[in-house]
């Protein structure tokens, strides 16, 4: 601090323009950082001072320039707080493009609201937030705030460049702690070298990035974790809601979670014991027992998010879930585990990062803030049964694309371990459709089709299957959005399948005037339902692209056409084989039957940027092929 005072003083003496506001003028931003940047982080100082395990102070000072409306949201400051997090101070200021002060921001300008997300019944967390408004672009916002955490189990990560279209002039992170404090530190995509300093009382670590240019926002970007600079810190000894502990790896962290958060919540009541015994007594096979208990759970409970108390880490007691018939993911998994305990079947409480984008727990770095959901693993001799306990509908042992194929953190009585959830391969994630239609001379289509959904596609129709018929029809009209379509029959049923659950949809339809007649020509677009959307054709791409999830769709649609129709024009068959996937479209007319066959399988994986244009060509070729039509000529009698 004292250094900069001196500097100011000298500058003043020399009669040079003073530091401060004028510095924020956008003219001071180097040209290469303005290129493509919708926002520029001018300077950010992120300091965490761990005074004690129950007193951690975060101090942030940042100056951010917003170039245009598309980056306005980055100017929002939202500070979440609860019983364990106190906002000590917030203030700031707004400057125009020339760096002239326009408005000071103080705590009273912040809106204070409940931070409850809409699926949650209750969380005791609140948010103070502020968004600059009504300003001309560009403008600069300065914030200076301090938060105090009464725990050190969760130390926020440092991410100096959180958005692709943001450039960074300078951003630093200093972590201060006692000389004896032991830390685990993980640096990702950090190319510099951190500096360490010590004095009599404390030590500090500093990271710094400078001159990071903005990049384009591109579709199919890989998960940000793979390219963002990030520093994670986990202190070895921690304090959390009046609990203490210590860990250096997943094993020890898992041990603490099990002993301190879960175990005490699993005491069964006599009625639970007799209920479980009644259900499984006649069964010998463990898998059968698990299935019966899982179905009991599905029928008895429902998902309600009630996150109070231990920061959303401790489950509600099993006896409480038994009595109320509801719980959040932790509560329901804990309850299921307790039921299995009664039946003497061991199982693991597993923390997972849920979402369609697959994210692993980090193998080499244990910490509590990597997951957002909990599932249950039941190890058997041959394999492991995975149970999602918050759904009342999904079949036994099915995980779906919310939690599949990723490393999860299992908290077992013998400590934590990382386990991988099952993967649904693109070949096994199928949607297979067969249809028999007839086309009459009015252009109407009548017929029926059945579609089977498997693997990661199993739950494509799960939300509709239990709806009343009129709701189903309404939703199907959006899925099969064909003009004049009417559904005369709709049925869903689970089908026995060897390896993965399988749902079958059986639908009968009428489509009035689907194939219009113009003079003697009849136009039929044979691909009724499965039309691929187009993808942006980017000539230049900067970042690799990432296909998160592959699948296979096959459609075989057979149309019987009127006698007097002769084929006039038929598109050529299409066969594409690429590294991204394969596509086949074939049309065959035999006698009066036109068979349309389409098969699209998409792979998954990461590809270099220069391959993107090939990918776009492939997908857009599929898009074009899906729109092709057949033209018939009506013979005169």
């Amino acid at each position: 601090m004292s250094k900069s005072y001196w500097l100011c003083f000298f500058l003043l003496l020399m009669g040079i323009k003073v530091w401060g506001q004028a510095d924020f003028a956008i003219d001071h931003i180097p040209e290469h950082l303005r290129l493509r940047a919708n926002a520029i982080m001018r300077d950010r100082q992120y300091t965490i001072d761990m005074h004690a395990t129950n007193e951690v102070v975060l101090h942030v000072k940042e100056v951010l320039t917003i170039m245009n409306k598309s980056a306005l949201a980055y100017a929002r400051l939202a500070l979440f707080y609860d019983k364990n997090t106190v906002i000590k101070d917030i203030h700031g200021a707004l400057y125009d493009g020339q760096g002239q002060l326009m408005q000071k921001i103080s705590a009273k300008d912040f809106l204070d609201e409940s931070a409850v997300n809409n699926f949650s019944l209750f969380e005791d967390s609140r948010v103070k937030h502020f968004l600059p408004n009504g300003l001309e672009y560009p403008f600069t916002v300065m914030y200076d705030f301090e938060l105090k955490f009464k725990q050190n189990l969760i130390i926020p990560d440092w991410v100096p460049k959180p958005y692709r279209d943001m450039a960074v002039e300078q951003s630093s992170y200093q972590f201060i702690c006692g000389l004896e404090d032991k830390l685990h530190i993980k640096e990702s995509n950090y190319t510099g070298k951190r500096t360490e300093e010590r004095n009599q009382k404390q030590k500090s670590y500093t990271w710094m990035v400078k001159s990071l240019p903005a990049g384009r926002i591109e579709p199919l970007s890989p998960p940000p974790e793979s390219y963002q600079t990030r520093v994670k810190i986990a202190p070895e000894q921690f304090y959390y809601y009046r609990k203490k502990g210590g860990y250096t790896n997943w094993r020890e962290l898992g041990q603490w979670v099990y002993n301190d958060l879960i175990k005490e919540q699993q005491l069964p009541t006599p009625s639970m014991i007799s209920q479980v015994n009644g259900l499984v007594d006649n069964l010998t096979d463990n898998r059968e027992k698990i299935k019966v208990l899982y179905e009991y759970l599905q029928q008895k409970t429902r998902y309600v998010s009630v996150q109070i108390g231990i920061g959303g880490f401790q489950p509600m007691a099993a006896s409480e879930v038994d009595r109320l018939g509801y719980g959040d993911c932790k509560g329901l998994v804990n309850y299921m585990q307790t039921l299995l305990n009664i039946a003497e079947i061991p199982s693991y409480y597993c923390v997972v990062n849920a979402g369609s984008l697959k994210k692993d727990m980090e193998l080499d770095f244990a910490s509590m803030n990597q997951g957002n959901h909990v599932i249950l693993a039941v190890p058997l001799k041959q394999d492991t049964v995975w149970l999602e306990c918050t759904s009342q509908k999904i079949p036994f042992g099915f995980l779906g694309d919310f939690t599949d194929d990723r490393l999860v953190f299992a908290c077992t009585p013998h400590g934590g371990e990382l386990l991988r959830t099952p993967k649904y391969t693109p070949m096994a994630s199928t949607q297979q459709r067969k249809a028999i239609f007839s086309l009459n001379s009015e252009g109407d289509i009548h017929g029926a089709f059945s579609t089977r959904f498997k693997g990661a596609q199993y739950d494509n129709r799960l939300g509709i299957a239990d709806m009343p018929l009129n709701e189903q029809t309404k939703t199907l009209k959006q899925i099969y959005a064909i003009d004049n379509i009417d559904f005369t029959q709709v049925a869903y049923a689970d089908q026995p399948a060897e390896d993965t659950p399988c749902m079958q949809e059986d639908v009968a339809i009428n489509i009035r005037h689907y194939a219009p007649k113009n003079g003697q020509l009849i136009y039929l677009q044979p691909n009724l339902f499965n039309r691929q959307g187009s993808v942006p054709q980017l000539e230049k791409r900067e970042s690799p692209f990432y296909l998160n999830r592959g699948y296979t769709d096959e459609d075989i649609l057979t149309y019987t056409v009127p006698d007097q129709y002769v084929l006039r024009m038929k598109p050529a068959d299409v066969k594409l084989e690429t590294d991204f996937g394969d596509f086949v479209m074939e049309l065959t007319l035999t006698d009066r039957q036109l068979v349309y066959h389409r098969k699209l399988s998409l792979r998954e994986g990461q590809f270099p940027p220069e391959r993107y244009i090939d990918y776009a060509r492939f997908m857009n070729a599929v898009y074009q092929a899906d729109l092709t039509k057949v033209v018939f000529l009506e013979k005169e009698h």
């Binding site: 598309s70 409940s114 019944l121 009035r512 219009p516 187009s534």
Partner: protein
Amino acid sequence: MTKIIFPALVALLSFCTVFADDFSFGAISTEEKEMQQCAYDSTANAVVLREYGRARFSFDDQSGAINLIFTHHVRLKIFNKEGVKQANIVIPLYKDGDRIEYVQELKAVTLNPQTNGTKVETWLETKNTYKEEYSKYVTLTKFTMPNIQNGSIIEYSYQIISPRLYNFRNWEFQTDIPKIYSEYEAIIPGTYNYNVVMRGPFKLSDQKSALVREGFRLPGWPIDCSQLTYIMKNVPAFIEEDYMTAASNFKSAIYFELADVLLRNGSKRSFTKEWKNVDRELMLDRSLGGQAKQKDEFEKVMPEITQHVQGDLNKAKAIYSFIKKQIKWNKYYGIFSELGVRKALDQHTGNIADINLALIAALAAGGLDAEVVILSTRENGIVNKLNPVISEFNYLIAKLTVAGESYFLDASDPLLPFGMLPLRCINDQGRVLPIKQSSYWVDLMPKEKHHVQYTLIGELLTDGTLKGKLVTSSYGYAAYLKRKEIVDYPSVEEYFEKKKSETPGMQILHEEISGLDTIERSLQERCEVSINLFDSLQNHQLFFNPFFMNKTNKNPFNLNERTYPVDIGMLQEESLNLDVKLPDGYELVSKPKDMNLALMDKGGQFVNRTRLENGHLFCNQLFRLNKMIYGSEEYLSLKEFFSRIIQLQKTDVVLQEKTI
């Protein structure tokens, strides 16, 4: 929508004091126990079996305040897992400084009927109810019912003690699940006179009124009350549909608004008044009329603003741009100014009323005739036309009259051209408040429509490529919305990049845009395009589809029936003019039908013409929707209208190689 008006005090009160009482808690009938589905809606996942509400006044001796005590008692049944969300109950409570509402006497139970005819009761425990500070003005009391299964019956009741008397307590007969029986009892002291308005399509099944002797007591002053009972039976669920304005316009509900109160000294304090009183009050209000008169604020700058312009209209336009530049909108609505004209000018920010009152004052300073118009935005619903309900208005604009022509002005959006209203304001009627005369209703009909014109002049090559120049001209709301879209991009180049990437099958070679900054005019995008129309010739024939520019792929009206009017929000016009030079040596074999489709009462039009002339193919299409709101009875014709267009657009132009 039907509105029925009742005088709150029914003249002929039957002189009895029978309370049509609340139904008894937990006394479930066998019929309710055994009910498997809602008799008149088999698709319902849950149903309200019975619901009772009562609102009455009470005098609090300790605070000396009059409170409204609202009792709500509900019994509902959950049929299946989809209905479980009905077990999550939220009671919103309002607070404003020390005027706080609170809940008392909450009790709730889940009853699970057993096969042996008994039932298992699980009571809600107080510790499982949560209070959430939702915002500055709202607290939520939340709870979820325990032990919910298919067939569970939930019963709960509570009281809200509220200091808010102005709207009494509104009652919604309709919600997202059907209600078999809903009864509301309003017990209103004879000294209070409320206007009562029914909304929604359904009629009351029963309505009673009775006199309650001394039903309300002020110290030393017993007051007789009228007890009004409203009953609706077999109310269907309210289902939201697409293209619908505010749900409150259509839901069956009963609304109250205080008209006047008879004071002890015999005088009457009036709340809901005649428009003539409201006019006066608003124009005298410092945050409304008072601000509209602040023309002194502009006296100094006026010569500068108007120095280079001739004529009143141009003067008005200059003033309009001045205000748009000077005051930025802070995204708050309102008919009352928050900061006042001077502060808004100083701080360069303000709410809707600050901005448009400043505009009105500035226009007045320029010697122009500008008036205040108050209105309710689309999402806020339609206002009551029978008597002035100020709380229903949430927006204020200016009405300018120049040479007998009137213009609506809103200076809150820099991209809005002079005389155009943002879409949120296009909602039925607004009330004009002239300074001296009495107020009147005015239609908020837009002068402009959403109008786009495509012109493509090009040449078709035998390899299936169409090369040409495409001009897209946007007018009215189309130009406005496109400008709004483009400013969201960091630069126009990035807008082009994005556009290029989104047109598979069409290559955009060179693109320019004009009129981006002249918001009063149309917006023109010109580009050179190369479109791949077909792959190869088959049988010496060439098929191509001329509807590649603005094809309608999906019918927006796909359902078989419609309950509410369809509100498309804007008048629309789209036209396409195509001039394609064909390769030599081809003749026309077939082309999409020429057609002229019209909706009833000139509600819409679609025209298609194709002709071959001197080796050029000319296609002209015109599409118009001439109404903003189509009645539910017009739904099927709209659907058919779109369907015909889709069918036509599937057909091709077929050309045949000439045999020489």
